[in-house]
């Protein structure tokens, strides 16, 4: 089976500074991988590059073996969920935030039912009444789980997680692990948390924009 993501000798510069140089790796469906390294080593840039937020200087990024181009970026973005440390919900209430993407043309007509909303909340161990809460009044960890819930509602298959476990308590972390135990879901994460990295099949270490080490665990 071909990889879902493949970086082939990718270099990226931003404001005349090299942020990624000669990065090559591949990620297969269902794989859980982590990127680690010091801050500024380019971990988040890998995720942002895949989402078309940094123009490539050289090399090619493939998504499902299709090169990343202005034409394919919509497909990549529609299959991918990006969840950061403090996800932006982009709406007044949590319910509106969960339904926000369904206003866009790409997802119009796939609006989830109330039952589907409740089911996904339960899966992430979020209380039902969170739906009516104000987006500005929920914690960072809850925001991350809501962003994750939004990804699940959209049926996303690839999750790019940027320091997601940092704001989660042990229980919530377990919930997130359980969600990603689904072999259909592929995860590329930026992580410092040893517990998270232990659960990832492969760990890529970055230093100054270069891939310096790859560790593979047996469980993937």
């Amino acid at each position: 089976m071909p990889p879902i993501i493949r970086f082939n000798q990718v270099s990226v510069t931003a404001h005349e500074k090299t942020i990624l140089s000669d990065i090559s790796f591949a990620l297969f469906v269902g794989e859980k991988a982590a990127l680690c390294g010091k801050s500024g080593s380019g971990k988040s840039s890998v995720l942002r590059t895949l989402l078309g937020l940094h123009p490539l200087k050289s090399g090619t990024v493939y998504f499902q073996e299709q090169p990343l181009t202005p034409e394919s970026i919509q497909i990549i973005r529609s299959c991918t969920a990006y969840i950061g440390q403090e996800p932006i919900l982009g709406a007044e209430s949590v319910r509106e935030a969960l339904l926000l993407p369904f206003q866009f043309k790409a997802h119009r007509g796939h609006r989830p039912t109330q039952a589907q909303l409740l089911e996904v909340l339960q899966r992430l161990q979020l209380p039902e009444d969170i739906l009516s809460r104000d987006s500005s009044r929920i914690s960072g960890g809850e925001k991350q789980r809501i962003a994750l819930a939004r990804g699940l509602l959209l049926g996303k298959k690839l999750y790019l997680l940027d320091e997601v476990t940092s704001a989660l308590d042990a229980e919530s972390k377990q919930v997130v692990f359980d969600v990603f135990s689904d072999p259909q879901l592929t995860v590329l994460s930026v992580a410092h948390d040893p517990e998270w990295m232990d659960r990832c099949g492969s760990v890529y270490e970055l230093e100054a924009g270069r891939l310096t080490q790859v560790r593979r665990h047996g469980n993937s």
Binding site: L51, L53, S78, I88
Partner: protein
């Protein structure tokens, strides 16, 4: 009814009034002599020049010359909008020109040809001051629209990106900032219409009354100009921002840094 002329000695007397604010500013320790001098001098010279070419324009009343004059005003406004909004002219000179030219031509032509109906539609006495006034206000609106759009987009960069990641098109993701910018651009005009005549007498109306017009006539012209200003500001800022959406982003919907001047 002729307006009374201000003769040369009286003009000198008029400048003398500036001595009072100048003295007061000096007494409270504000040393603004240079700025005041430059301001008064520039005003006088620029208006004298306007007087000369308006006189020529009115005397000749040639449709091509009038058209050329409007074209020059549009170009000056175009560059002034971009400079004040902090955008690089090389990328936006055409888009802003299209936005302001189409909206000014639309509202001025509507007003002059359909509403006022002078013998010659190109009559300098009508099109030059009307187009100028509409353009002046349209310029303000476009500066606010562009400035607000880019500042909102940069302030909410993460939100914009989040919308893109959730499947929004560029237009869908930028729409909140687009709306905010248009609203900021036209709000002063709407508020101005709502308080018109209560807070101050509008400039054009005052001018017409001084020029000997009946108050009723002056009122009708003031309403006409306000409606045209409102229309052209709205149309121009929407067209301008729509064109900006096509120009200022790369193929991956990311804002191109190079289009904005470094502060």
């Amino acid at each position: 009814m002729e307006t009374l002329d201000i003769k040369l000695p009286q003009m000198a007397l008029l400048y003398g009034l500036c001595l009072l604010p100048w003295l007061l500013l000096w007494l409270i320790g504000l040393r603004l002599s240079r700025d005041i001098g430059v301001g008064i001098l520039r005003m006088s010279v620029q208006l004298a020049l306007v007087g000369i070419y308006l006189k020529t324009l009115f005397d000749l009343n040639n449709p091509w010359l009038n058209g050329l004059w409007i074209l020059v005003m549009l170009l000056v406004a175009d560059l002034s909008i971009l400079r004040r909004a902090g955008l690089k002219a090389r990328y936006f000179v055409l888009s802003t020109f299209i936005a302001i030219a189409s909206s000014i031509l639309l509202s001025t032509a509507y007003l002059v040809i359909l509403v006022i109906q002078p013998t010659h539609f190109y009559d300098a006495r009508y099109i030059v001051p009307l187009a100028g006034m509409i353009l002046g206000n349209c310029l303000q609106g476009n500066v606010i629209a562009l400035e607000r759009f880019y500042s909102a987009l940069r302030k909410n960069e993460n939100e914009y990106t989040t919308f893109l990641m959730l499947g929004a098109t560029r237009w869908e993701a930028a729409r909140p900032y687009f709306r905010e910018a248009v609203k900021a651009a036209i709000n002063p005009t709407i508020a101005g219409m709502a308080t018109m005549g209560l807070v101050s007498l509008p400039g054009m109306m005052t001018g017409q009354i001084l020029g000997g017009s009946e108050p009723w006539l002056a009122v009708k012209y003031q309403i006409a100009i306000m409606i045209c200003i409102f229309t052209s500001s709205t149309v121009a800022s929407i067209i301008n921002l729509k064109l900006n959406l096509a120009i200022a982003f790369n193929a991956f919907d990311v804002l191109r840094d190079e289009v904005i001047k470094k502060p």
